[in-house]
């Protein structure tokens, strides 16, 4: 054992010596980090270095450093473009709509499952409602197109009620509803798992006490269960608020068609089209960077709010 240097009277290893010793003793643990660290350096940090092309007029032949510096020009172009407002509105409206509409369903499902009188019904419902989570986005959007076409199941069923065929997919006013409600169909079961866990941790004595006091089941939900799952619910709500601008690319891109683009074009799909299909690398990077920065700012503010409200911080 090495003896530690004595600093101002108390035994205290310098940061450096401690690190060297840990490195020597635990070198395998550092080696364990190498694969993931290498991955992050190559596929996350190296691209971060390339982000500077947002401030340049990038041409592949000149490389990053050879391309002319244009400052904020790409950003100004975006803010002044006719797409700017539409993209922002489409992204935020779709995201917030989904956030608010989808929020209560997993809680309600978890409560319903918790109060099920039949164990078999509970298990069957859990099994079935989790399943759509494992269906791919392509298949989900494929299901939309077979169900909502002219002769699809939805129009068949509506036809039996005497309601004439609805053009679900080509009517842009229905795009957001379809996007959000298909999400609710697909994810409610899976998202309820965490609330089921929170409900399972409620002490049975609380329920017994409530029953002795003559509380009915609705009163028990309101006074015992809801307070128990509230912290989880608040954290999840805050977490998803932090992702308002990072709406996924995959589903929206698949759902797009010529008739609904006015509401279905969001920032991530536009970044893809401008960048890879039109090869405007700098402009696309600038839009993506703008999006990421706004997102980070929202996330940090929301995190601070969460910290102040509940003492639980995510970062």
């Amino acid at each position: 054992m090495q003896t530690a240097p004595v600093v101002s009277g108390c035994v205290k290893r310098s940061w450096y010596a401690g690190f060297i010793q840990s490195l020597r003793r635990n070198w395998i643990l550092y080696a364990f980090l190498v694969p993931t660290l290498a991955y992050l350096i190559i596929f996350q940090y190296w691209p971060l270095y390339g982000v500077q092309i947002a401030f340049r007029k990038f041409t592949a032949s000149k490389g990053i450093w050879g391309s002319a510096w244009v400052g904020m020009q790409n950003f100004e172009k975006f803010f002044n473009s006719y797409m700017f407002k539409d993209l922002l509105v489409n992204t935020v409206v779709l995201s917030v709509y989904q956030l608010i509409a989808a929020f209560p369903f997993p809680i309600i499902l978890a409560l319903m499952l918790n109060y099920s009188v039949s164990n078999r019904l509970r298990r069957a419902t859990q099994m079935v409602t989790y399943a759509p989570h494992f269906i791919s986005t392509v298949v989900l959007v494929g299901m939309m197109s077979v169900f909502m076409g002219q002769t699809g199941l939805f129009n068949t069923l509506l036809g039996k009620l005497g309601i004439g065929p609805v053009a679900f997919l080509s009517d842009s006013s229905m795009f957001r509803d379809i996007y959000v409600w298909s999400h609710i169909w697909q994810r409610t079961g899976y998202n309820s798992v965490i609330y089921i866990a929170a409900l399972a941790s409620v002490s049975p004595e609380l329920h017994e006490a409530a029953i002795v006091d003559g509380a009915n089941k609705l009163q028990r939900i309101w006074h015992v269960d809801i307070p128990a799952i509230l912290p989880t619910a608040v954290i999840l709500l805050i977490m998803s608020t932090g992702n308002v601008l990072s709406l996924g690319f995959e589903k929206v891109y698949l759902m797009q068609n010529d008739l609904n683009l006015n509401v279905a074009e969001i920032i991530s799909t536009y970044v893809y089209k401008i960048g890879l299909l039109n090869a405007q690398y700098s402009y696309s990077t600038a839009i993506g960077l703008f999006n990421n920065i706004v997102n980070l700012v929202i996330l940090l503010s929301v995190n601070k709010l969460a910290d102040r409200l509940s003492g639980t911080s995510l970062l």
Binding site: N26, L29, F43, P47, T137, V139, F147, T285
Partner: protein, 297 residues
């Protein structure tokens, strides 16, 4: 004591409504899946005329026959299996290693390192800078890009870390190291055997993400022969809306459309079966994964 007490009328009403709503939610989720299944073996005319509601009509397997004949689907299936297995294996091994290291409090520099990881969850260079890096590495069009890009998730590393921090007490390593067991042997012969459940959770997460995703393939692959199943599905399910309208023979178009419709149902079944079959086997693990994920930090 709940059983002894006579239920109030209100609670009986509550139970009836609750049971009704549970059955309703079960049916709302189940019926579309069931309908896909019966439609995939029904003939297209019956589907279009609304006769297929509860049972398949005029059972025919022409859809599945066409699917089996379609070389694109076989290739896509093979590619998807390859990518999923490779990506999951790499991902699970790398994630367990990193997660375990980060769970060790005696790892100097742990805080700095982990914030380097976490930062990437909240801020990234975006599509084009990543694309340019892949291009510079000469990996555009290579299946390795799809395998590698799906293989490390910082979120999963944090889940693994939480698992190890709560399930492998530090005393265990201290005891083992007194007996002369080093980090490497401790990891292989004690940590890994104790972490079957977290390995199952991680494998499930990585496999589902890789099997179901199409974005990386869309961006980085350029040859049909490398396309994973989801890219092929995209062509069949969503891209084929534009069947040439200028073909003169109306009957031929209708016949094509009829079969295309049946094929779509069949393709949905064929594509979803592997994951839906996997899931009951690992259901208990994935519930566990959600629990571990919820206590992160």
């Amino acid at each position: 004591m709940i059983g002894i007490r006579r239920k109030s009328r209100f609670d009986r009403g509550f139970d009836i409504i609750n049971t009704f709503l549970l059955v309703l939610s079960l049916l709302v989720v189940l019926y579309p899946l069931y309908f896909i299944l019966i439609a995939s073996v029904s003939d297209a005319t019956s589907i279009a005329s609304g006769k297929v509601i509860l049972l398949p009509q005029n059972v025919s397997f022409i859809g599945y026959q066409r699917i089996l004949e379609d070389q694109r689907i076989w290739t896509g299936y093979g590619n998807s299996i390859l990518y999923t297995v490779a990506s999951t294996a790499i991902g699970v091994i790398a994630t367990v290693m990193a997660g375990y290291s980060f769970s060790r409090k005696d790892l100097a520099g742990r805080k700095v390192l982990i914030s380097l990881y976490i930062f990437t969850m909240y801020f990234s260079g975006g599509l084009i800078p990543t694309y340019l890096v892949v291009k510079q590495l000469g990996l555009i069009g290579s299946p390795w890009t799809v395998i590698l890009l799906g293989s490390v998730s910082v979120y999963n590393i944090i889940i693994a870390r939480s698992f190890f921090a709560s399930s492998i007490p530090p005393e265990l390593f201290e005891a083992a190291s007194i007996d002369g067991c080093g980090n490497g042997r401790f990891f292989i012969s004690i940590v890994v055997p104790l972490s079957k459940s977290i390995i199952a959770v991680l494998a499930l997460y990585y496999a589902v993400a890789q099997w179901n995703g199409y974005f990386n393939a869309l961006v980085y692959l350029n040859k049909q022969q490398h396309y994973p199943l989801q890219m092929v599905l995209r062509e069949i399910l969503i891209g084929s809306q534009s069947i040439q309208a200028d073909v003169a023979d109306v009957d031929a178009i209708q016949e094509m459309q009829r079969i295309a419709a049946t094929v779509r149902y069949g393709v949905i079944v064929v594509a979803s079966v592997p994951m839906l079959m996997l899931y009951p086997l690992v259901q208990k693990y994935f519930v566990k994964g959600v629990m571990i994920g919820s206590v992160k930090g």
